[in-house]
């Protein structure tokens, strides 16, 4: 990887840290501690299920919000504030800038998720007093959540490369919501006829399939996850991310920075 990509990524990460993005961890810790104590008091035999379900859902939602709100400003804010001028007037290719920004935001989310994961396992230990073998499924669920973040980061960057932050946020949130019901959309496409079927099928395969990456319920219910699913989801997320990033690069390479 080009050293310039690493430097841009490191600066993006530093910006997130200095803008106190990681402060969300405090809210997350408070939510999870409260939930663990509360669940411990009212649930019988399902403490683990509730804590895992709630904890992983919170990890996902916190991360999605951060990915979208930082991602949508990654390029447009740099253009608006003209900070980009002194970067691109150096030997930095435009694609390196986009890729560096992506890795910086992805890195921020991975670090954020790491600390949240510690919180989830802490809460789990608080209610269950021990770890068991099925808890490893939580790690798989967390890995899929990180894959989900990669896709959202790349989509937010794609929108940020040509649109205003507000519109980018609307597009990214819409895709997140639709993508979360991608399996349902595919099911609907299978039942539809004619032009509707054609459109529904196209939409179902175009939007990111976040429902395939959501194994929170399976992890909570200790249902096994196949290694084939892990491989498929990894390849799918990497392919989708690469496509969205390529789109962002293609648009940004042609953009006049007025």
């Amino acid at each position: 990887m080009s050293p310039r990509i690493i430097q841009i990524a490191a600066n993006t990460f530093r910006e997130a840290v200095r803008d106190r993005v990681l402060y969300n961890l405090i809210a997350f810790a408070l939510l999870l501690s409260g939930a663990a104590i509360f669940v411990g008091q009212i649930s019988i035999d399902i403490e683990r299920l509730v804590v895992v379900d709630l904890g992983l859902t919170a990890v996902s939602l916190f991360g999605v919000v951060i990915a979208i709100f930082i991602g949508i400003g990654l390029v447009s804010k740099e253009i608006e504030k003209r900070t980009l001028y002194t970067v691109l007037s150096r030997p930095v290719r435009r694609w390196e800038f986009i890729v560096g920004k992506f890795f910086g935001l992805a890195g921020t989310l991975v670090v954020n998720t790491f600390f949240m994961a510690i919180g989830v396992f802490g809460a789990l230990f608080y209610v269950a007093h021990k770890f068991s073998k099925p808890d490893a499924l939580i790690l798989v669920a967390l890995y899929f959540i990180v894959l989900e973040f990669l896709i959202i980061c790349s989509l937010a960057l794609l929108f940020s490369s040509f649109s205003s932050p507000l519109l980018s946020a609307v597009f990214a949130f819409s895709l997140f919501v639709i993508g979360s019901f991608a399996e349902d959309l595919r099911g609907f496409a299978g039942l539809a006829h004619g032009v509707t079927r054609w459109f529904a099928t196209a939409a179902a395969y175009l939007v990111p399939n976040f429902s395939a990456l959501n194994v929170i319920s399976a992890a909570a219910h200790e249902q096994p996850l196949s290694s084939q699913l892990i491989l498929h989801n990894t390849l799918y997320a990497l392919f989708y991310t690469a496509m969205a990033l390529s789109g962002a690069v293609l648009i940004f390479e042609r953009r006049n920075l007025k």
């Binding site: 430097q7 910006e15 970067v87």
Partner: protein, 318 residues
Amino acid sequence: MAAIEILGLEKTYMVGFWRKRPKRALQPLHLTVEEGEIFGFLGPNGAGKTTTLKMLMGLVFPTSGTARILGHEWTDPEIKAQIGFLPEQPYFYDYLTAHELLDYYGQLSGVPAKDRKRRVEEVLQRVGLTDIQGVQLRKFSKGMLQRAGIAQAILHNPKLVFFDEPMSGLDPLGRREVRDLMEQLKQEGKTVFFSTHILSDAEALCDRVAIIYKGELRGVGAVEDLTSTVQGKVEVVWQGTQIPASMKALGAECHVTGDTVRAVLAENQQDAAIDALRREHIRLIAITPLRTSLEAYFVEKLQPSQAASAGKTVGTAV
């Protein structure tokens, strides 16, 4: 070898709701800047100076035309390691300190790690930014940001430096320091290309200037040539506030400033003026031939109908 060769760069934006109405920001521009000179790119606000600079930096794509920088195609990213650029009214990552910012830019420009810290200290000192350790840029004044901008432009010891309105936001002392810095850069053999609408800065600094107006190049020349035309008049300066009647009789236009009087009169009246001052026992300070100012040349190069309006936007501060 020419430092910059602009070969017909042109920019037309499509404007309007459907982006169908063309608006020409820059007409085909042909310009050559030699190595080692300070070149002034002059024009009123909105003339096309910044558009030209942005095209040379690869921030805006030309509609047509090309350019060569230091003998290379201007689209070659590697050539940018030898270029410094200060944008107009620069804004930087305000969560960084000046040291962090320059370190980051040094990395992007390929300054070796072992030299970076020393270079950062050197340039900060050079632009007069001292005692700012640990202060984030969001706490910098406009003038300090401008200095940080100049520092980042010269950090990597570039051969060619582009400054877009470098005096903007600086106080008189700061402007003087930047002028000195630009002269030092020239002495170091670097080429300086700077845009400004402050003609006195250009007159004091530049070897050559180009005048651009409404996206069209109106004139190029050496400052010395443009301002050496003697107008057949002389300026006589003497001490005091007294204006002898005999001076007025010679047709002198007199202006009292503080305790000196400046009079402009025909060159052939010069000896008579000196005699008149002697008779009154007035102390003569200077007699100099009146030359065309850059401002006069600038105004002449603008369309007559626009000259008046340009006067409002073109500063002449010293």
